[in-house]
Amino acid sequence: MWDFIVERRSQLLINGFNHVYLVFLAVVFATIIAVAIAILVTRLPKLEPVANAVSAIGLTIPSFALIGLLIPVSKIGDGTAIIAVTFYAVLPILRNAVVGLQGVSPTLLESAKGMGMSEFTSLYKVRIPMAWPVILAGIRVSTQMSMGIAAIAAYVLGPGLGTFIFTGLTGYGGANAFNNVFVATVAIIVLALILDLLLIILGRLTISKGIRVA
């Protein structure tokens, strides 16, 4: 196993980097999309159950099926991978962003108004900072989930460590089949845990001191 890792270290590093990069891009897009929709929902509260139902139903659709649906649209390759991963990444963040933004106490918003803040200023100075811990929790869930979905996207030639898993599957019975799958799976778990740790640190740095628990 060690020889396998040493021999393929450059390929492993490249695919590992691509895997994380795919997830990173998808989660960044997803955060922007989800928060934008959630802000819309705060303006039109009637949409809240719709947004929640969409995120619940969306998470039900198996990722392999969604990837299939996307092939005619975005062809085989990186495009399909990023769209599929982004789709799933949006959903947990959306739910949390809706809960977080709606959960801001109306008295706080009234104080903001009283201080002369416009709707927009109070959104980015009060609502978003107050909701940020909850949104960030959604981002963490999304990131973990995306690491696994990105692995499946490798079947349609998406980038990342999933490639090794499918190489191992195709080479079943061959000498390196086990190594390919095992190393890639463990690498994905380790990278997922590292990303989670980074997000915890990000939380430490970005959550407003006034509302930080402990």
Binding site: E48, P49, V50, N52, A53, S55, A56, I57, L59, T60, I61, P62, S63, F64, A65, L66, I67, G68, L69, I71, P72, Y88, L91, P92, R95, N96, V99, P133, V134, A137, G138, R140, V141, S142, T143, Q144, M145, M147, G148, A151, I152, Y155, V156, G162, I165, G168, L169, Y172, A177, F178, V181, F182, A184, T185, I188, I189, A192, L193, D196, L199
Partner: protein
Amino acid sequence: MADVATAPNAQADARERTGRKRGPKLDAEQLIELFGIPLIVVVGFVAFAIWRNTATLDSVETNALPWNSIWIQLREHVVLTAVGAMITVVIAVPLGIALTRPGLKRAAPVVVGVANAGQAAPAIGLIVLLAIWFGFGFWTAIVALVLYAVLPVLRNTIVGLQAVDPTLVEAGRGIGMSNLMVLRRIELPLALPVIMSGVRTALVLLVGTAALATFINGGGLGGLLNTGITLFRFPVIVAAAVLIALLALLIEWLGQVLELVFRPKGI
């Protein structure tokens, strides 16, 4: 929101951890799901059937989509999900009960922690890895599915039982109930809604992961999708993907109905 702080991996799991509220009455979101999903499934399936019987497909596509093999794969998919769910419940619920008894209580956080970390494993990696160890086939797929689905049920069983008001347990003991009776008559009924919500999450995970079983000859609708991708025929790919998605929605709906049916009347 302490619950959302630990991030697990699984797709369906994400939903449950992000703070769904469940009151005694159905909220608008539940209503949309309860009535919207069957509507989507029925309309979707009828549309598929009409399309399949009227669309002009070339011979390759027709050969890839015969009705009887669609039914066989659909049945395989349902069997994978149902067997997986039964084994999951049989393992996870007793284990969860055991881990909330006085003797093993202290082991609970460790078990849940390990299970959480294990959940970060990508489903496809886990399935292929198990296939290399145990060989290809249905039962290996079941092992992988169960490994993946046990966590939400186990965690919810533990959480549900821990949330039972200790004064109620004491009251039960006070009127002369044995430990077993307290468990059966008080603790389990009170924890049931939480356990069922875990079962529902597990069902969604199972039906989604079962689509990957075809890679290790475990059967299921993934096979149709795989054929479509290999042949690179869009009609086959889309038809297979739609069928998988419809089945998943139907299973999710079933989970929701089960959850409502099993909710004890008093709470």
